[in-house]
């Protein structure tokens, strides 16, 4: 036991020295304002004392090593499960690794190292830790961050769901590129009428990928099963959200093709609005095109499964 304490103490000393100068796995400290950096440094240092095990364990990740990830059926590296199990202090250990004190890379390949980078952001995001908000924001705003990291940061911001995160994600919808795509992932987790209203115009996008992402986001916004949990959002917003989602998705259904149409059908299934089938009947009655009628009949059959 004494030996273990000594090892931990040694590690802490070395890690403390590293905080001030080293870069993290994803970011460097100088990407933060001084106030943010100091706050994070202080809290990390405090957590190291309070929860030393988490800081030791995080340096022993194995999920990116072939001997471990080859046991997964996907055969792909992932450290998320390990990070979830870090225990008390996990969030601060992850912030430390992301921002201040990079983990030992060893012989990790690019793909394996990406798994570590992204895994840290994902696992930290799952903790819904408000202190981590600046970390996610920096990654989200970092033009050099990969698409996957931006997406993971956006999801983490969505999980936090504060006004600042909402505003940032909604602002990103106005631009194109990885930030908008990431925001569409992140906004799945923040169910609110203004957000639905911000997503709906993207269903008209020329890009099929954007339409698919927008439809998916609306499906999660309006998910009847999620709303049934009582934990999806403000209950007063449930029906306004689901109604908006239904109307918007039905409006573009016939204009969409291929993957976008499939995504819209999926989203309508999730929204499961009680008026959907009646609306489709009305659309069938109002269309003179046989092809459209057939497509609507198929949609109706699909939603009745």
């Amino acid at each position: 036991m004494n030996i273990r304490i000594a090892i931990i103490a040694g590690l802490l000393v070395s890690m403390s020295c590293a905080v001030a100068s080293a870069n993290g796995v994803v970011l460097s400290p100088n990407q933060f304002t001084q106030a943010q950096r100091v706050t994070l440094e202080q809290k990390v240092a405090k957590a190291k004392v309070q929860y030393p095990d988490a800081f030791v364990r995080i340096r022993q990740l194995k999920g990116h090593q072939p001997s471990v990830y080859k046991r997964y059926r996907s055969q792909k590296p992932s450290v998320v499960k390990e990070l979830r199990a870090l225990g008390p202090g996990a969030g601060w250990a992850m912030i430390d690794a992301i921002v201040f004190d990079s983990l030992p890379r060893g012989s990790a390949t690019a793909e394996e190292w990406r798994a570590v980078q992204q895994g840290l952001v994902i696992a930290l995001g799952e903790l819904k830790m408000t202190d981590a908000a600046p970390v996610f924001q920096r990654i989200f705003d970092d033009p050099s961050a990969s698409d996957q990291l931006v997406q993971s940061a956006a999801v983490a911001m969505g999980r936090l769901g504060g006004m600042q995160q909402r505003a940032s994600l909604m602002q990103a919808l106005k631009k194109s590129g990885k930030k908008r795509d990431g925001a569409l992932w992140g906004l799945r987790h923040v169910r609110a009428v203004p957000i639905v209203d911000a997503i709906v115009p993207l269903l008209e996008s020329d890009s099929e990928q954007t339409v698919v992402l927008a439809a998916n986001a609306l499906g999660y916004q309006g998910s009847s099963w999620a709303w049934k949990t009582g934990n999806a959002g403000q209950s007063a917003e449930q029906m306004p959200i689901r109604t908006r989602c239904m109307n918007a998705l039905l409006k573009v259904y016939l204009r969409s093709e291929s993957e976008a149409r499939e995504a819209i059908a999926r989203a309508l299934t999730m929204v499961e609005h009680p008026q959907t089938l009646a609306k489709i009947d009305a659309m069938i009655a109002n269309t003179s095109h046989d092809q459209d009628k057939q497509a609507l009949m198929q949609l109706k059959a699909r939603l009745s499964m």
Binding site: D53, R57, Q60, K62, G63, P66, S67, V68, K70, R71, Y72, R73, S74, Q75, K76, S78, V80, K81, E82, R84, A85, G87, A115, Q118, G119, I122, E126, S152, V155, R188, H189, N216, G219, Y220, S223, S224, W225, A226, W227, K228, T229, G230, N231, A232, E259, E262, A265, R266, A267, T269, M270, E272, Q298, A301, R302, M305
Partner: protein, 675 residues
């Protein structure tokens, strides 16, 4: 009238093979023995054209009709008149008038051109192949002779890729030029140049050849008693007058499957041509056609010979053994001794199939394990290291430049076979191949092109991109049923799981936990955390609920497609309830409760992941549901604790096992399919 039969045009694809298109390693002796894999892209070669081919035998012994009618040769007489000029069923294109279309240059008047003072044989150089598919060469059988240049569902000779290893040298038998022991004889199809019906002038010589496209795809042996002599050049096999007089038997082995349906690729048909000449002039000319047997994949309805599973988890193995004992099926436990990086996903390492051809007393079959295309999967090399042997072959097909990002779609759990059926007026006598593939997530194109090229089991592609692992066995399975179709589809349905949990909650059991005593874990003890969770907790998790609803919506789309494709009605589908969760790193779903649809079907017995569902009154509600749901269909359930080694690592029972099936005569007779 002379003996000459009509020249009939056949539309034959000119086959050109572009080297370096892919790596396919039926010729390799294992992972270190891959045949050449030169880098290069597959190129399309447009080579289809009409060529004229004499599709029947002929001997021009004179232009006088009396030569035939009055001939004393029994063999010639045995061929009925209607043989001549008949058009094989598979001949495409216009059939011209025999006389006007005949090429006078290949019609020789034996009386005027043959060496004088010698008796001219009334038949010489005839070819015979097993066109009537009874395993025998019957030159006196009119039907056999009439159809020898034909290939359709009723007639046509077959040969095998000699892909097993009868001499135990670790290499497939077609990779060398010798007969590989007595057992190897059975793997070679025969054909014959029939002994002439009369004396053969010494000036006569025969030249036997295969078409240019087939030359590198087959090996021809000349059979002399027990001796099999490989012929160096299958496009130039010379027969002496003595050979022509006595007849010569040949054996043929395939060195390649049909690799692709692309134009210009070899289509698997070998056109044999035998030309007899004398003094530079053609005396006789005969042709015959053979087809290489495709690789046919086994399906769940076939009787089970044995099951393989990796020996990593004694609880898993014990449960598997118990279930298989009830089904009277042996379990072969794989230990991967000497492997540096083995893994437990036996299903993903290979897909079982077979090749077969007619033989006396019943079809001759070689079972074939198709190794997963991904080159980096040591455990999959077991098919070469340990399985390859007599009547057991192995093959590895992949692109030369393999895309590792797509490797999970090449795990063989993503490759399955829908059992035989008829749908929308079309018969699929050997079923259909089903694979998870989309525009952006797909198996190796060369490997899937190979499967497509086998032709017997057309491919159905479904979306598995929404899954973290991405395999069709995560949501579908096919099991025996006492229905006209003979099978039913099991299909994942998260909605049913939610409904069951909500019912329990409504009945006051919301606090009851599921997954009791089970743990999620990483690689070290400190990573372990309890998996037990109450019904209330699950139903209150908006993320889990939204994920499952999204998955259900996706599954509805796949179900709609399969219902149409397979012409299934509701009574032929059984839903399997379990929840999923989102793997955040890969953004796809994976089974949260044990994925019970990912099961092993052996002869009406189901080996299913123990669901570890919530217990009410000591009864696992999910297990009871499965017993009621599947038991009422005449299926016997056997539960397997796969949690620690498979479920926690994103797979279930099917993923952890593989199955060798018995190939019945009906299964073997792929040639009756008509594709």
């Amino acid at each position: 009238m002379n003996l000459r039969t009509s020249l009939q045009p056949i539309r034959v694809a000119t086959l050109m093979v572009v080297a370096g298109a892919c790596c396919w390693t039926v010729g390799c002796g294992g992972p270190d023995g891959f045949e050449g894999t030169p880098d290069g892209d597959v190129q399309d070669v447009d080579g289809a054209q009409d060529v004229k081919t004499d599709t029947s035998w002929h001997v021009d012994a004179g232009k006088d009709a009396s030569t035939v009618d009055g001939g004393a040769d029994a063999r010639t007489d045995s061929v009925p008149d209607d043989v001549q000029g008949d058009v094989p069923d598979d001949v495409q294109g216009d059939v011209p008038d025999a006389e006007s279309d005949a090429d006078p240059d290949v019609v020789l008047d034996a009386e005027s051109d043959a060496v004088p003072d010698q008796q001219v044989p009334t038949s010489v150089g005839l070819l015979v192949v097993d066109s009537n598919r009874n395993g025998k060469l019957e030159p006196t059988n009119a039907e056999e002779m009439k159809n020898k240049a034909t290939w359709n569902k009723d007639f046509g000779a077959v040969f095998l890729v000699n892909i097993d290893d009868d001499d135990g040298d670790g290499s497939v038998d077609h990779s060398d030029e010798v007969l590989n022991g007595a057992e190897d004889v059975k793997d070679l199809a025969r054909f014959e140049v029939v002994a002439a019906s009369g004396d053969v002038p010494k000036t006569y010589t025969g030249k036997l050849s295969v078409d240019a496209a087939s030359a590198s795809k087959v090996r021809i042996f000349r059979v002399k008693g027990a001796e099999f002599v490989s012929q160096k050049d299958p496009q130039n096999i010379v027969l002496t007058s003595q050979d022509l007089a006595e007849g010569v038997q040949f054996a043929i082995e395939g060195r390649s499957f049909v690799m692709s349906k692309k134009e210009g690729e070899w289509a698997g048909y070998v056109d044999l041509t035998h030309v007899v000449t004398a003094g530079g002039k053609e005396i006789a000319h005969d042709v015959a056609r053979m087809r290489v047997a495709p690789l046919v994949f086994m399906n769940n309805l076939m009787k089970t010979e044995k099951v393989w599973a990796a020996g990593y988890d004694k609880w898993f193995i014990n449960d598997m053994r118990a279930g298989l004992q009830a089904a009277s099926v042996p379990l072969d436990v794989l230990f991967y001794v000497g492997y540096k990086e083995p893994d437990q996903w036996t299903q993903d390492h290979f897909e079982m199939g077979y090749v077969s051809m007619p033989a006396e007393g019943g079809a001759h079959t070689i079972k074939v394990a198709m190794r997963t295309p991904t080159p980096i999967r040591e455990a999959a090399d077991i098919v070469f290291r340990e399985f390859l042997g007599p009547d057991f072959g192995a093959i590895h097909v992949r692109s030369a430049k393999y895309n590792e990002w797509m490797s999970t779609y090449d795990s063989m759990g993503n490759w399955d076979t829908v059992p035989p059926h008829t749908a929308n007026g079309v018969s699929y006598s050997h079923g259909r191949f089903i694979v998870g593939s989309t525009k952006s997530t797909y198996p190796d194109p060369v490997a899937i092109g190979f499967v497509e090229a086998q032709a017997i089991q057309p491919i159905i592609k479904v979306d598995t991109s929404w899954l973290s692992v991405g395999h069709v066995d995560e949501f579908s399975s096919f099991v025996k049923a006492s229905t006209p179709r003979g099978w039913r589809m099991l299909f994942a349905r998260p909605a049913l799981a939610v409904q069951m949990l909500q019912q329990l909650q409504d009945d006051g059991y919301g606090a009851v936990k599921m997954h009791v005593g089970k743990k999620w874990y990483g690689d070290d003890p400190w990573e372990v955390w309890a998996a037990d969770i109450s019904i209330d907790e699950v139903l209150a998790d908006a993320d889990i609920m939204a994920t499952n609803q999204a998955d259900q919506a996706t599954l509805n789309g796949i179900l709609a497609k399969l219902t149409t494709e397979l012409a299934l009605d509701e009574s032929e589908i059984t839903f399997m309830p379990f929840l999923e969760y989102e793997d955040p790193y890969y953004g796809g779903s994976v089974a949260y409760q044990p994925g019970t649809v990912n099961l092993l079907h052996v002869d009406g017995h189901l080996l299913i992941a123990d669901p570890f569902g919530p217990k009410v009154g000591g009864v696992d509600v999910f297990k009871k549901d499965l017993d009621d749901r599947l038991g009422s269909l005449g299926l016997s359930n056997h539960y397997v604790d796969d949690w620690d080694t498979y479920h926690a690592w994103m797979g279930e029972v099917h993923c952890g096992s593989n199955t060798l099936r018995v190939v019945s005569e009906k299964d073997a007779a792929w040639w009756e399919d008509g594709r």
